[in-house]
């Protein structure tokens, strides 16, 4: 076999795979600016001949994608921030404070959380949320999202905190800092890089979550983007051009985040996966 052929064969295979990955996105992107189903049916693969950008306006305004979008945004950000705060306190206590066997026991307990298939916990969580009287409010998602992210977040942050040298604390104690001060002024600032990674992963997880969001909220105003999209599809079943515009709205923020931070995302997700 000639050398050039042998060298290009892997690229042929990989580029075909890439095409399979990317073409659906391109198909939706093209469809989103086509006039109607007919225009899509006549020219399914190609670049649109005329651009119907009003699909985007329709989806954003009339189908309330804007509303779903901002619901998702604030729920995801808030839940991610709080879980990182609580998890970092926990991780600090079990890795840097000296409580002997309690450190091991509590950390071990959290590890168990990684093994539990959390879908199967949905029904009891539904009941808890109802008993707390927060069913059908945003808290019905925010609190479970915070709780759900805690094991993974603790494990990643604890792993990072363990690598910090203990001399730092010795110096801090000399300067008269107490444990909360050491946490807030020394450990947290040093842990920021790991926190950014975990934040992105938690954020994406919350942004994409569907099951709880679908069953714990029945008020349309409160819905998140994935649920709103599914509803939107069911309502506008026949208008695929507008539906595509809706898909673009829900996919673009994720692609932008990914484009900027892909190194960190890949690193964080694989670290959690391999160690968990």
């Amino acid at each position: 076999m000639p050398r050039t052929l042998r060298k290009s064969l892997p690229h042929v295979a990989l580029l075909s795979y890439l095409l399979v990955i990317l073409f659906p996105f391109l198909f939706v992107l093209f469809s989103s600016v086509k006039k109607d189903n007919n225009a899509i049916a006549l020219n399914p693969f190609g670049i649109p001949r005329e651009f119907a950008f009003n699909n985007y306006v329709e989806a954003w305004v009339n189908a309330k994608i804007s509303n779903y979008f901002f619901n998702s945004l604030y729920i995801s950000v808030l839940a991610s921030v709080v879980s990182i705060l609580l998890a970092s306190m926990f991780a600090f206590a079990v890795t840097r404070m000296r409580q002997g066997k309690w450190n091991t026991i509590l950390y071990g307990l959290i590890l168990i959380g990684m093994l539990i298939p959390n879908n199967a916990l949905m029904l009891p969580i539904y009941t808890i949320v109802r008993k707390l009287g927060i069913l059908n409010t945003h808290l019905a998602l925010i609190i479970p999202y915070i709780a759900n992210a805690i094991p993974f977040t603790i494990i990643i942050l604890a792993a990072f905190m363990r690598t910090l040298p203990s001399e730092i604390e010795e110096a801090a104690v000399m300067d008269g800092l107490k444990a909360p001060g050491i946490f807030a002024k020394i450990i947290v600032p040093l842990t920021v890089p790991a926190m950014v990674t975990v934040f992105i992963i938690n954020f994406l997880g919350n942004w994409n979550e569907f099951l709880l969001a679908n069953y714990f909220l029945s008020n349309d105003e409160l819905r998140t983007l994935p649920v709103g999209m599914v509803q939107f599809r069911d309502q506008y079943q026949m208008n695929y051009a507008q539906m595509s515009a809706g898909i673009v709205f829900s996919v673009v923020p994720v692609i932008v985040i990914y484009a900027i931070l892909q190194e960190k995302i890949i690193e964080g997700v694989t670290a959690g996966g391999v160690k968990g």
Partner: protein
Amino acid sequence: MNKALKNPFVFTLFVFPGLVLFLMFFIYPIFSSIYYSFTSWNGVSDTVKYAGVRNFSKALTDERFWVSVKNNGWFILFSVFVQVPLIVLFSLLISNVKKLKGLYKTAVFMPSIMSTAVIGILWGFIYEPNIGLFNKLIGLLGIEPVYWLSDERFAMLSILITNAWQWTGFYIVMVLAAILSIPGELDEAAAIDGATGIQRATRITLPLIVPIISVVIMLSIAGAMKAADIVIVMTKGGPAGSTEVMATYMIKYAITNFKYGYGNTIAVLIFVFTLVVTALYQLLVARRTERIEY
């Protein structure tokens, strides 16, 4: 100096909120599920009636429940026998190319950061019988339109393909990370000895990444047992219950039909089956893949 970091009060204060949430949303639900799986509670009324093992015997003789178990089985089989070989193949290919490596790695991972719900919608559009991409493609070959999601013969397969499209890249990146951490000298030495690229891939790299492949299989089994949102979005379990999985069946009973007790029985069975499958895998396969050091 130890005193500052030994303060039990501060320790408790720091651990408390996280621990409470963890106990409330992970540990308590397990016990609550087990408890309610032995009741015939409807989820709302004041009285909870004990039902013994009736729910369990009902589930084990419930034909539609077994269809859902079988469908989880399809998820497992498809990921182990279709996805994993592809994952290994593409990881080896990406690790061996010099150009475009970064592009491949970045692009293949992209679908796995997307919302499963949105991917379900996107693929629903691709499978659309009249204007969808799939039928337009096979139409070029002169094949009649197929009703992918509403034909019992194809609905499950259509979901499995979508699921594979979403997650294959995720695992590729994982395996790729393992391949790239193998010391290069091993490969170079083999190259000097005259081994071809394919020989090096199958005789050197492949045996060294067996442990990570094992992890990937474990994770895909766990993922297969959890599958639910993709089914709800794409087919809602239909047509005629043919794509129902355990988790969707559980939700259907407990939340839609107010059979909270029975729903929890299914939840407990999901736990048990997941434990059994992973334990079997560990015993039969994973233990044989000895630890590898280099």
